[in-house]
Amino acid sequence: MGEIWSNILLYFENNLDAYLTMLQRHTSLSLRVLAIAICIGMPMGILCILFRKQQKWIVGFFQVLRIIPSLAVLVLSIRLLGIGMGPAITALAFLAIPPILMNTVAGLEEVPFFMLETAKGMGMTELQVWIKVRLPLAFPLILAGVKTATVEIVASATIAALIGAGGLGQIIFQGLSVRRTELLLIGGISVAVLSLTAVLLLDLLDCFLQRYKRGVST
């Protein structure tokens, strides 16, 4: 145990710059994927509500994608897209879109009909009903979807090191190949801490945006 601990310290002494680069790469990869997943997942969720007939197809397609393990998606994407950051982002986005898409659909569907009708009855246009009523009321569930997606992205981004996207996965795979436990620990714990931090930040945002529910006035 003491040996592992000193090995960990030694690793940071010698490789701090490399570690920080990998951490930075992991974070920026995750953020980019998240941004893309939100930009695709949310509008598609809205489209599902606007075009109910197509909803089954869109949701079904992404649900099937979700069943495929992340590793398989990443490995398959090498075949289709090659290696590097681009393919990693694409593959991870496919994993992150479903929770955001499905929660957007669920959130929008949960808005009670009478809310929409009173909003219309007050003289809001269709667009105003969406912006002032539908989306704000759906937001808590959409954010929950973003949280799920974030956890999935940060975890799966580890595997993205396999297809040359860098990140904390590099430490883990290096540790596996040279059988060095301290590298596995450093990589694993770092990913876990990163993931927890992301969730914590989103929870704070959630609390702040939903303060009206707890009845704390501004």
């Binding site: 009670p112 009478f114 809310m115 009708e117 009173t118 909003a119 219309k120 009855g121 007050m122 003289g123 809001m124 246009t125 105003q128 002032k132 009523v133 704000p136 009321l137 009206y212 529910k213 707890r214 009845g215 006035s217 501004t218």
Partner: protein, 255 residues
Amino acid sequence: MNTAIEFQHVTKGFKGASYNAVNDVSLSINEGEFITILGSSGSGKTTLLKMTNRLYDPDSGNIILFGENIRDVDKVLVRRRIGYAIQQVGLLPHMTVAQNIAIVPKLLKWDKKRIEARAHELLELVGLEPKEFSSRYPAQLSGGQQQRIGLARALAADPKIMLLDEPFGAIDAINRLNLQDELKRIHGGLKKTFLFVTHDINEALKLGTRVVVMNEGRVCQFDTPENIAKNPADDFVKSLINSCREQEKFWEGLT
């Protein structure tokens, strides 16, 4: 006296229903009247109300507001001129009380100061201290308080016509009586035309200057509360009055 609302042979049916929700209804309502529409569920009373602000459009017939056929006016514009309050209230939970009241004035692009002054004035009108309530969220209000805000919101842009769909339906008996009295007071001071839907005969006869009794999409009787009580027009109205009388007997038996 001006005619505020005129229904001319208004008919509306929904798919799959065995009879029309509203069947050949013609009514003429004067400015400043407090009209209650009384009927059981499925009588068409809510459908009639929702046609007045074009949430539904009639299959046939015309609705004229102050001489203007609403078929020819943009839906959104019709609605912004009419106050609308419902049983579920529908306050937006992420907005404060003041912001909820400001919704329609904002849609009408009033300036900020005018909106603030109006919200203040309305909170006083509905009996809620502006300083205490302006910045609260709906989750911090009781059911009765929420409905008061619902009324204030409907009154915000000073509409000539108010549509009220069982606004006190979910409120306990004591608060309900208070709110009824206050609504009567508010109506008296404003010279607005109120259309108030209810299934409670006591409420209908207490509040209405005239009462529309509806059954299965048709108007059974449209008259003052006194005349309805004295001369019920048909068996349905009679049975309504009798149900009330029986309740009275029940009470007498208890005391």
